[in-house]
């Protein structure tokens, strides 16, 4: 089965490690309220708007920022992409179909959860939903894909 966007199987392990580390530390960061002072470094900010403190716009400035949340977000996304888009040990047309089906399912599932949240969650709580929503399409996709793969071998005669 020829596919042009899948990476070799060897990257899957590093993908799982990054993805799970990212998810666990992301949940910890959420519990402590995103307030951490570790890893504070100077970063380049190309646009910085602070509406609460007047109409100050900042273009291309160097600011100080804890890069903990950035690292965690990147770990979840890069790890998730590696898990979802590396070849299986045996890659064939059925696995390919499971992957695309799971992608569609993940996206739809994410949209329904988002619609529900838009209708029934307000104010600051919705911001938390938005943060989760950055990752849920990938997370739903990976859970569904692995569930289907597992189900397809679990009840052999």
């Amino acid at each position: 089965m020829k596919t042009n966007y899948l990476l070799p199987h060897k990257y899957k392990t590093i993908g799982w490690i990054l993805f799970l580390l990212g998810l666990i530390s992301g949940i910890i960061l959420f519990i402590v309220g995103y307030e951490v002072d570790i890893l504070k470094v100077d970063v380049l900010s190309i646009l910085n708007v602070e509406p609460l403190f007047g109409e100050d716009f900042g273009f291309f400035e160097i600011i100080e920022n804890s890069i903990m949340d950035e690292l965690i977000a990147l770990a979840i996304i890069v790890g998730g992409l590696l898990v979802g888009f590396t070849k299986e040990k045996v890659e064939d047309e059925f696995i390919y179909k499971l992957r695309t089906d799971s992608l569609v399912w993940g996206l739809l599932c994410n949209c329904f959860v988002l619609i529900f949240a838009i209708l029934f969650v307000y104010n600051f709580t919705f911001l938390h939903i938005m943060i989760f929503n950055m990752f849920t399409p990938l997370v739903f996709f990976i859970i569904r894909f692995n569930f289907l793969k597992f189900k397809a071998v679990s009840h052999e005669e």
Partner: protein, 66 residues
């Protein structure tokens, strides 16, 4: 689409995993095709038929409503 892969496997005394390995697909594929949950591509159907040395039509058949 129905198929008699399970019967052919029994004749050759093979497990799903062995058949999958011989044909070069995943075990999930053979399992799903056997249960008629997945319709294989023409390419894969031909490969399976060639392995059992039978014409495709004697392994895969249309159901009445198809």
């Amino acid at each position: 689409m129905k198929n008699r892969i399970k019967v052919e496997r029994a004749i050759h005394d093979m497990t799903q995993a062995e058949l999958a390995e011989k044909i070069g697909v995943s075990r999930q594929s053979i399992n799903a095709i056997e249960k008629a949950k997945y319709v294989p591509s023409a390419l894969l159907a031909l490969k399976i038929a060639r392995f059992f040395e039978k014409p495709v039509e004697s392994i895969f058949f249309l159901e009445d409503e198809e």
